[in-house]
Symmetry: D2
Subunit: 455 residues, 4 copies
């Protein structure tokens, strides 16, 4: 085959999508990629992880999201091709030979994600970006085999788009930039499934005001307010959905549960072998790509459930129970600079109540979460959002919009300390009344939602 | 406690729901039930099972649906209480003492469902209705413990609502009738998540035209068209979503996969023990309620994945691969009376190609699926939909609506024979070209979508 | 110019549309047509006339609807062009030279509508279809001048599409058939603006399963349920929205008001001249196309308001008051065959109360309203809905769908007698208590909603 | 009657509303108010005036909006009554005796609006706020008659709520504050009908986090992001919808048209009498409340149409043509300080082309438009948005939200000079080629969208 023949259209296939109505597939290559086992595996990995414990509707998978990113990219490319077709190399317009390249990259951009990625990566030192690369470029995967049919270099081309080293900046920015197809899909999709409206910016208008340009993608100045709306949607989704304190309370439990399992395995592998076979390579820190591809949400939850029922370790069982049966850690915010003594005091109180604070408390800073806001002055100036005025001059977005300027360069979020929920409401639980003075103290320090000194 | 104290309102808690905007919880008892591990387990069981393989958005869980049924019931009861409050016993109006009873029943009506219920039940002889009863009435469950706090008989009261033996027919019909809160929620919810509009009847209008009545629930004659619309929505959802041939093609694979596992276990349990611990009791046909509660979608899929990688049985691995990696059986319709010879011929051809037809073909009649259409003249006339005219007379719906009459008493659906997808497109697959004449024959018999005689 | 040059694309212009998101204009000719005064005049004519008095949101104009019909047609044609482009004349596929023709026809199909067409036509013997033709073909209109720029025959071509005499049946059926762009737009649009969901069929799926065909437009058999859904939507919209008894109660007042004005003018034109200048030609039965184009909803309502304040005729003022201030006639259904005596009796009672029954009562049969249901066996068999099976055979829809068969050939609707609202609730109005026995009788005859004999 | 008896509930009546699904009417008094001719008149006055020329869907009336404000208020009051019922006078909680008062005020708050208010007021010195007061308190209106049935002082009570002098600040702020029921309805309603999503903030969440408080209404601190979202929606709607340059281009024509009529009448009333009877009192500057109530959109448009056809004044006819047939003035922005010379130059050029710049140009500053952004530090500090923290302290919104701070105290909008559209594209119009050099100059000064000096 070749890029030219891979670009041939087939009779359109569709996927009914609640967010985009239909996802249109027009190339055999795309259909073949969707049917690989690596893509199908994304059906078994939830897009938002622990957020379902706060927003019960948000049970959608990374598979749905991947189709959505593909579809948004397809629509943009259709528009570019209709309105700004390149006439000659280097004219800064859209070269439709890139179509099949960018569509593959869009579809595959998240292929390396695993179950509860953000937490899993911290404990087991996996890296979903490196794994995305591996899945695309390793000859053992079905994805690679499908891509290689185009040409031997095609997998590396797709990988380079995702890695941002591909020479055409338009292609790169469609997949990775401050306002790319990936973010556009997840904002509207996560809005739809959570049932909130915050991420619901004016997608059709954004698509209308996008242009290909010599150095990438720009936006009509006339569309500035639609871009502002998008930036605000991102902000709202992070503040209200992605950083929700209760979801993070579940994520902290997951983190502690995995950590406990990893620690226990070091002591004695009998706890986990042979009943958690797919995790052993990770406990052993000696895993292959195939091992990684065996994992999904269901596998982890199955093992948690088995641990809950069968594992003799009380802490492991208890944490598995908290996770499976939704008993989130409670939290209060704190100030990293001023609250060191208060943090120490709180941990002491919790320890005195008999909890192993290593597994039963956690500090979480939402700034550390691997999502990011719009930040135009970062190290890579190419991904600034640029507005194109009628007379051809460019304006960087925050220079034009004082609303966006309010967001610019200022990280948002908070820092929280997490601890078992029962400590907060402890006084109502008769069975722990013995410790009442300690609970009183914890209550005093946390009752306003912000950590404060004990009176 | 008592029903009266359980009926006390607490400060409202809400769950953000994409279908009903908010689910409002106003009683501690409801909140405690939601927090039981049996309810939380429903988060890990998809509402539509294999339908996600056709409608990728429909990844919502039975937990979401259960909250939705609760919320619709709550809204109906609020309306009944506001508009038709009982003044004295036996006046046929709404007695608000029933509120907490019907809300508990609404929330718990599906608590006995397990993973891929319809298929699992066939292979392992479980019964989700009996299990619902068991979960409510067995002292070992958290659900039962929460309910028992109201009174020792309260669990049985709730069970009797779900079993339709509760004395107040209004309460029973809100949960189980031709137009109950259960169906109302799943039609709109499944519509929302599939991204189709077929189930999207006029819920608010239906709620407005419902009345409590001596013998149950009736509808204003003026609302007849809204009820017609609901009946049509049900029909459309069954025809277009629930009976989709491709989803059934995945369900058939699941059925064959579980059957193969059950058969293999009889031969030699070493295949499954100890790596599929939660399934052993079912293979042994000796399971407890706790065993049942250990199961969920993730557990089964985890075991399937382990079988795919580790199990030496080729058929089991292959079927696990087809299920996990979405390789649905292909199908054609047939006529049970006329096509017996054709069926036999087709099976012979498939067998000659080396397939064990016991595991690689399946007949599926959608009439057998445990959903049902509106059928007013069934054995239980109480669940007819009755319209109340201005002068107080009642008319049974199909007498008033010729549209509904078109549906009445006529089962819809089809019968299909399922077989491996590769046989249908076989001629394009070089590696099986040896068998070409056989494949030609299969192709001839199936290419119109209806089984037909070989020329 | 020529059809070829009129078919040249211009940089896309868009209209933001709440139903279709955007309406895309890609030809200068279409833009010029939209900007004619005849099209702009449709902004001042409501799509649903008196229905706004029942559904206050349904205030949208025929202008919006015309853009919508254009846009649906454009999307169908795009799909036809992409999927079924004609290779040679007579191959039954889509000939894209027809694009500009069908788009013009779609945009202009309702151009001849006037204010409250259905009522106005009855009193003043205008005919919106003839007027559509006149506006397109008369050299004095801007529409004609724009069309003529393409070629001298172009206006007649467009007219022949709307009149169904154009040679290409695909073009004709896109604009006028049982499932055309006109109906598709008004069902979804009227649903959107009334705030009901009944007309909200699966438009995108319908567009997907449409095909051009030698004799017109057909639908994939696989899309049968989507077509059923459309037919049901039509039925529901007629039953619940278009035939709503209260809207018709306002329409009856409008009818009587215009009739009274026409009758009065015959007696003495001084009542109306010079203050209602735009109506004089119609009173005189001697009007030109320009006279017709002067009329719109605002003009009529302005004159009604002036009559209310200034006209010495008590009946005219009173009817104007009832119309402007929303005092609909009340109605009951009756049986044309059995209720003749009851009708006579009721009219006598109303007359005895001092009402001129010529202006204060009205019979309305909704079967007479100029909308129609799906009727596949009508005199024009070309407009049957045909389903195309995989093997190439055609099935007429009602043969395939028992649901549609329930609608087939059976007119729906009812007959009602309308009378002043105050007679129904009369007993509560003290100032007419003198007539109480008569009111008692009227109340008895009408209180069940169906006309019945006086006891 | 009395407030107590007016507060009695009646069997619920509903209005189907596309924005709020249903509007629920539960008091006879509200129903009677809706049925007054002054309320019904609002059906004939569009909510957004000239915006329909840009957003063709936005044809909704002030009647729809008034019902919407009523409904939002009703929902807030229901929530207040359920969650924060006053126990004793002065406790700062919700006193449900205020319910009927605030509902009447909500329904009637816009009753004094006339056709194209903002423009009409400028030319004819009417004042919709004073007229609202007059309609409520003048004994001749039906509204007043209905209100007076409650008590002689009741009309003044309602008026004082709208005038912000009513003693209970909660009642006042529900109707008039930075985040009141009026604005909440128009943002979501105008979004719905324009088909944009900008005004679509999280209404249900806002309602959830509102509290009555001693000095008015406050919001839970936890709901800060929902309030931010609302403020951003307001900003977006003003920037993108209400201040749209093309809508203002139509408004400028309307302004010039009315001014021309007023000026002409001073010269010679024969132009308008007797064919524009309802406008004469305004030309005469001697009008009554009844005269005002005779006006609506249709009346003005009818007169414009008559002027277009019959009036001998060329400027009046031409401006009427531009308005009725949508020929908006074109505009460019300018800087009030720096562009004085440029403005003068441009006006000179236009005059040299033969236009009377008094009627054919206009300066428009959107800051002058009678909508306003959130401005917490204005002269009335009570209407600041206050957030209530868990420990009972209050924070003013912009102190808590840097996003809102970006908006605070900074007027947004622009200044534009408007001129005939044909001058902008003049060079393409052959018939004015004589003036080409002048047109060239105009083109040069305006082609970037910002006024600039002639080279």
């Amino acid at each position: 085959m070749s890029i030219a023949s891979a670009s041939q259209r087939i009779p359109e296939k569709v996927f009914r999508d609640p967010v985009h109505d239909y996802v249109y597939v027009q190339h055999q290559l795309i259909l073949d990629l969707i049917n690989t086992k690596e893509m199908q595996r994304l059906r078994r990995i939830k897009q938002l992880g622990a957020s379902i414990f706060t927003f019960h509707g948000a049970e959608h998978s990374r598979f749905s999201h991947s189709l959505g990113v593909y579809e948004i990219t397809r629509r943009i490319v259709d528009k570019f091709y209709r309105s700004y077709p390149s006439q000659e190399p280097g004219d800064g317009l859209w070269d439709d030979k890139e179509r099949i390249v960018v569509l593959c990259a869009a579809l595959l951009h998240d292929i390396g994600h695993g179950p509860f990625s953000h937490t899993f990566e911290k404990i087991f030192a996996t890296d979903h970006e490196a794994l995305t690369q591996a899945i695309i470029t390793s000859p053992e995967t079905e994805v690679n085999q499908v891509l290689r049919q185009v040409s031997p270099e095609f997998p590396e081309m797709i990988d380079s788009v995702i890695n941002k080293t591909y020479p055409n900046p338009q292609v790169v920015q469609l997949i990775s930039s401050q306002i790319d197809a990936d973010r556009m899909d997840y904002l509207v999709r996560d809005s739809y499934f959570t049932g909130t409206n915050y991420g619901n910016f004016d997608l059709t208008r954004i698509l209308r005001v996008m242009h290909p340009y010599k150095d990438g993608i720009v936006f009509d100045y006339a569309g500035m307010h639609a871009v502002e709306d998008y930036v605000t949607s991102r902000y709202q989704m992070y503040m209200q959905i992605y950083f929700h304190p209760v979801s993070r309370g579940m994520e902290m439990i997951l983190n502690r549960l995995m950590q406990r399992a990893a620690d226990l395995y070091q002591d004695d592998s009998i706890y986990f072998d042979p009943q958690s076979p797919f995790l052993i390579p990770f406990f052993e820190k000696n895993w292959t790509l195939n091992d990684y591809l065996n994992l999904d949400d269901g596998v982890l939850q199955c093992y948690f459930a088995q641990w809950l029922v069968q594992n003799p370790d009380a802490i492991l069982s208890d944490l598995a129970d908290r996770f499976l049966n939704r008993k989130p850690f409670k939290s209060v915010t704190f100030d990293k600079e001023k609250d060191q003594a208060n943090l120490a005091k709180l941990l002491t109180l919790i320890e005195e109540l008999g909890y192993d604070t290593h597994y039963y408390t956690a500090l979480n800073s939402s700034f550390d979460l691997p999502y990011d806001f719009y930040r135009p002055n970062a190290e890579k100036p190419r991904t600034q959002i640029e507005l194109l005025e009628k007379d051809g001059t460019m304006v960087e977005l925050s220079q034009a919009s004082s609303l966006v300027q309010a967001f610019t360069g200022k990280p948002r979020g908070d820092q929280r300390i997490y601890f078992p929920n029962e400590l907060y409401y402890g006084k109502n639980h008769d069975h722990i009344s013995l410790f009442e003075p300690l609970l009183d103290n914890i209550h005093d320090m946390t009752r306003t939602g912000k950590l404060r000194a004990l009176d």
